[in-house]
Symmetry: C2
Subunit: 312 residues, 2 copies
């Protein structure tokens, strides 16, 4: 536990949520605590979209993909009559929403069309070229309604929490359903999370021999879809330990939240609740089961409206 | 560069190999060096079998697997007439050798039989149970000819090299064709490499919900076979950077060795040559192309006979 007198969590309002966090950190880190956890076991995992930065009106990466699909259709007119390029080039964002909604309703007839388009959008390029594209987009594009650049859409209280945990010996990992290689160029700067601690979805990669150490190129196939029950698997695969703390905001984070903590060891589960239509967004769609499980299990629900003095 | 007067590499004899290592580290770490590399970019990757510990007369993990297959056949007589259990229970190690030799000759008819047996041998158990089995084996089993326990089969000069690199700001990763979860229980103790920096082959895993955070169980399917061109892919996937230094000993390490270093940045490639029949083993089988490439490209060949004052 830090003994500095300066508040490490200034954007968190006093209350039960803030207290749950600081008491948990005290329990697992204070010298002499009966529940002291060795430093190397202090692993914390964070979902990204909707947990560390905002995901409305659409996930930031979807904006990146739509712009790329539209640019492809600009360049190749034959794509303009094929999905998903048609929807992207006519700014028909409703089509994307419908595909996703139908997916959650069990109808996946259109999903392969969308997935194939997304995978083709960045297929065949090197990981360095993809990183440059993602980096350029994230540093230049503006959020459509919040009046700020995307890199300024990270939640300040969560960035403070990451710093507070790190100062108390935790290793923070991002465990996102979003693309691993999309987040890596900015994870250190925005979150203080180094790129080797970013776990996310990924496309298949292939190494091709050649000058200068060869190239790693993106293949138009999914490698890992890091959501739901895959999150604990990929956390284990990367870290080799169970997390002590997990933070998420949606049903896809439920397995990861359940996975945090082991029998006989303290664990903290944080569920961010989007209930602030003025400063951020107000929605529970896609989080119904997670909120129900949080109530049933006594997990800590973080209300953006009540618990955060500042959002960004 | 460490300025301590004590020799960080006492098991390395003076000579061109040792000098190549220390000069490389000096070039990329010394204040004011024109080739100084930022600390977070100092990534070193090491193959395990034959590079960090011995792999003759058979890879250590193969001994672990054979004992498990034999135990299964002891318990279930119907397995004793089926491969690979028959060969394991009759100690017919030649059968295993033939399958592998035929594989390198392009005949993979028997390989699925072996692979299926290996995957079934540990299928359905939790990652914690597998770790306990691997840990127990590694701490108790003896090398068949060297008169030492397996944990004492790590090469002392390589362990010193790992420590020397770490002291100079490098992050060392193991990038092995062997099983990631087989090495993790001992990687910190034997090599000073923490478990999150162990990259290796892996079986598919599945998270199952349940009390105490649920279970992660091994499925009888290969997830990643981390050899050859897959090594650069998995290094990139885990680390998100190209390595500055790579060390291997066989043809399967060639892509990883080629991958180390980027255009305009220094890189060091080490190839361990097994040429010491007295203290270790003398063989080039499976390393022919690697040795040829090392000569052609001026990589640093580490002769166990000439460069190491002490092997274990």
């Amino acid at each position: 536990m830090l003994t500095s007198t300066s508040d490490p969590l200034p954007s968190w309002r006093a209350g039960a949520t803030r207290q749950a966090i600081t008491e948990f950190v005290q329990r697992v880190t204070a010298d002499g605590s009966p529940e002291l956890v060795a430093r190397e076991e202090r692993v914390a995992v964070f979902d990204n979209d909707g947990t560390l930065w905002c995901e409305q009106p659409m996930p930031i990466q979807l904006d990146f993909i739509l712009r790329r699909l539209a640019a492809m259709a600009d360049h190749d007119p034959s794509l303009r009559t094929r999905q998903p390029w048609q929807a992207a080039s006519t700014r028909d964002h409703g089509w994307f929403g419908e595909v996703v909604t139908r997916h959650y309703q069990g109808d996946d007839r259109e999903l392969p069309v969308l997935a194939a388009g997304i995978l083709q959008a960045f297929g065949g390029i090197t990981v360095e070229d993809f990183e440059a594209q993602a980096d350029g987009f994230l540093r230049s594009a503006q959020h459509p309604t919040l009046g700020r650049g995307y890199l300024a859409c990270a939640y300040r209280p969560m960035v403070e929490l990451l710093g507070y945990l790190e100062a108390n010996g935790f290793a923070n990992y991002i465990a996102s359903g979003g693309g691993r290689d999309f987040m890596r160029p900015i994870s250190q700067e925005v979150y203080g999370v180094p790129r080797q601690r970013v776990i996310g979805s990924s496309t298949a990669l292939a190494w091709e021999p050649g000058e200068g150490g060869g190239r790693i190129v993106r293949r138009p196939e999914l490698d890992v879809g890091n959501d739901g029950p895959e999150k604990p698997v990929r956390i284990w695969s990367r870290v080799g330990r169970r997390p002590l703390l997990a933070a998420g905001n949606s049903n896809g984070d439920l397995p990861m939240l359940q996975f945090a903590g082991q029998p006989g060891r303290p664990g903290l589960r944080l569920l961010v609740r989007h209930d602030d239509p003025v400063r951020e967004f107000d929605y529970t769609a896609g989080a119904e089961q997670a909120l129900q499980q949080a109530r049933a299990n006594g997990w800590t629900v973080v209300s953006i409206d009540r618990d955060w003095a500042t959002v960004f």
